[in-house]
């Protein structure tokens, strides 16, 4: 799926991916790809600006952590990020149900 089609949902997806466990950029992209069954295959460099913005908005926090060969920046969810993720999930549930009920075929 193209990056621009995801743009309105990218924040929620990134928060959801980081919610389970703190992760560095590469792992976040990998999780996104795996959990979407390969559907969300982004231009990987575009994920970092979004991560920086979410950090600036106080939804994520990050710090350098030592890796096997080099240090890496690890992102984790803040309390505000967790609340925002909860809101996004609720909003998405309502939206998806509404779309589904309109698009699904009416019983004959």
């Amino acid at each position: 799926m193209r990056s621009d089609a995801l743009k309105g949902h990218l924040d929620g997806l990134l928060l959801a991916v980081v919610a389970d466990e703190p992760a560095h950029g590469y792992a976040i992209v990998e999780r996104l790809r795996e959990r979407s069954g390969g559907t969300f295959d982004l231009a990987e460099g575009t994920v970092y600006p979004a991560l920086h913005r979410l950090e600036g908005a106080g939804l994520l926090k990050s710090s350098w952590a030592p890796g096997a060969t080099r240090r890496r920046r690890v992102y984790s969810l803040t309390a505000k990020g967790r609340r925002t993720l909860g809101q996004r999930r609720t909003e998405w549930g309502t939206f998806a149900r509404a779309i589904d009920s309109v698009l699904s075929e009416a019983p004959a």
Partner: protein, 353 residues
């Protein structure tokens, strides 16, 4: 291949050095992981690096994405800062105008300095309010300001800061004209300090302008006008009120329904009048209404603060009425000139189709 790409990315990034280092280090980590994965899949080293770089995205596109995201966050920050600066400058002006500074009394400026201070202050308030209103619109919509809309926030910020600075400097220069009769050294220090604050505001305006240039906004899409801003704000209000006071929200809803019914009736019975009241289609009507309201407010404000009451006579009333008309006319002309000069630049007036 990776290092060449990173050098290009570093060159494209127009951000503070520390942030640039962080971005490049994160990109290096990611690209090394990607190329290691490629080698595990049997690719040669150079091919693995080439594919990693291709998957990461073009350096200029990644840099542009960073500029947009950072500019968006910075637009919200600068709007809050501008609001604070404008309020502080107005408070400072009110304070210094009340201080008896010289043998002539307070340091109220006269002539062109008074005019600059008066209209500069008003433009600062209107531009600052525009910047805050637009920032609120985008915050309610998730926070990200699209690249083609950045100028809608940055420009009012720069104008508000520049006008607040000009207002304070004009007051300081006006006071400086009486410098020989100033009460002691503290008055001189106050004048110099005020002028320095004005210069700081001007420097902040220049910094905001530089930030907009650094964000490299993409080609401008058709821009809106002040009516769009007011409608967007009006849509934000019910949500806020609903959360704070459901009873007031119900009252507002019923008032909204009544207004809608009245509007529909006017449209049906007097289409020409309804067309004239369409402020979007007639920006100068919008300007006229705004100028008239401000002019009357200024004129009446002057009369109310200039005495009256017990010594009220017909002659006094006539003088007051004349003062209202003259002040309202000056204010109205000032607003019309500002609308003409700054309307399109600030996105108050729509571009002609």
């Amino acid at each position: 291949v990776i290092e060449t790409y990173l050098a290009q990315l570093e060159h494209e990034l127009d951000v503070p050095r520390r942030l640039r280092r962080r971005i490049v280090d994160e990109a290096r980590d990611h690209l090394c992981e990607l190329s290691a994965r490629g080698r595990e899949l049997g690719l040669g080293e150079e091919e693995a690096e080439r594919q990693a770089v291709a998957g990461f995205g073009r350096a200029d596109a990644v840099a542009r994405e960073f500029h947009e995201q950072l500019a968006s966050a910075s637009a919200h920050r600068s709007s809050s800062l501008t609001a604070l600066v404008v309020v502080a400058m107005l408070a400072l002006c009110a304070l210094v105008l009340a201080v008896p500074i010289s043998a002539h009394g307070t340091w109220a400026a006269s002539g062109p300095y008074a005019l600059i201070a008066w209209f500069g202050g008003q433009v600062a308030v209107v531009a600052g309010a525009l910047a805050v209103a637009r920032s609120l619109r985008y915050r309610a919509d998730g926070g990200a300001v699209p690249s083609e809309r950045l100028a809608d926030i940055y420009r009012p910020n720069a104008v508000a800061l520049a006008c607040a600075g000009a207002m304070v400097i004009a007051l300081a220069i006006g006071a400086g004209a009486h410098v020989r009769s100033l009460h002691g050294g503290w008055a001189l220090t106050l004048v110099a300090g005020t002028a320095a604050l004005g210069l700081l505001a001007l420097a902040a305006a220049a910094a905001v302008t530089r930030s907009l240039a650094r964000a490299r906004p993409v080609a401008v899409a058709p821009r809106g006008d002040a009516v769009d801003d007011m409608l967007a704000l009006a849509l934000l209000v019910p949500d806020l009120v609903e959360r704070r006071s459901p009873r007031l929200a119900a009252l507002l809803r019923s008032a909204g329904l009544r207004t809608g019914a009245v509007t529909a009736r006017v449209r049906a019975r007097a289409p020409r009048l309804a067309g004239w009241l369409d402020l979007r289609a007639h920006p100068w009507c919008f300007c006229g209404l705004f100028a008239t309201a401000c002019g009357l407010a200024v004129g009446l404000g002057h009369v109310l603060t200039d005495g009256g009451g017990p010594s009220l006579t017909v002659a006094h009333l006539a003088r007051s009425l004349l003062a209202v008309v003259v002040l309202a006319a000056i204010e109205g002309v000032g607003i019309a000139v500002a609308f003409l000069v700054l309307g399109r630049f600030l996105g108050i007036r729509r571009e002609p189709a």
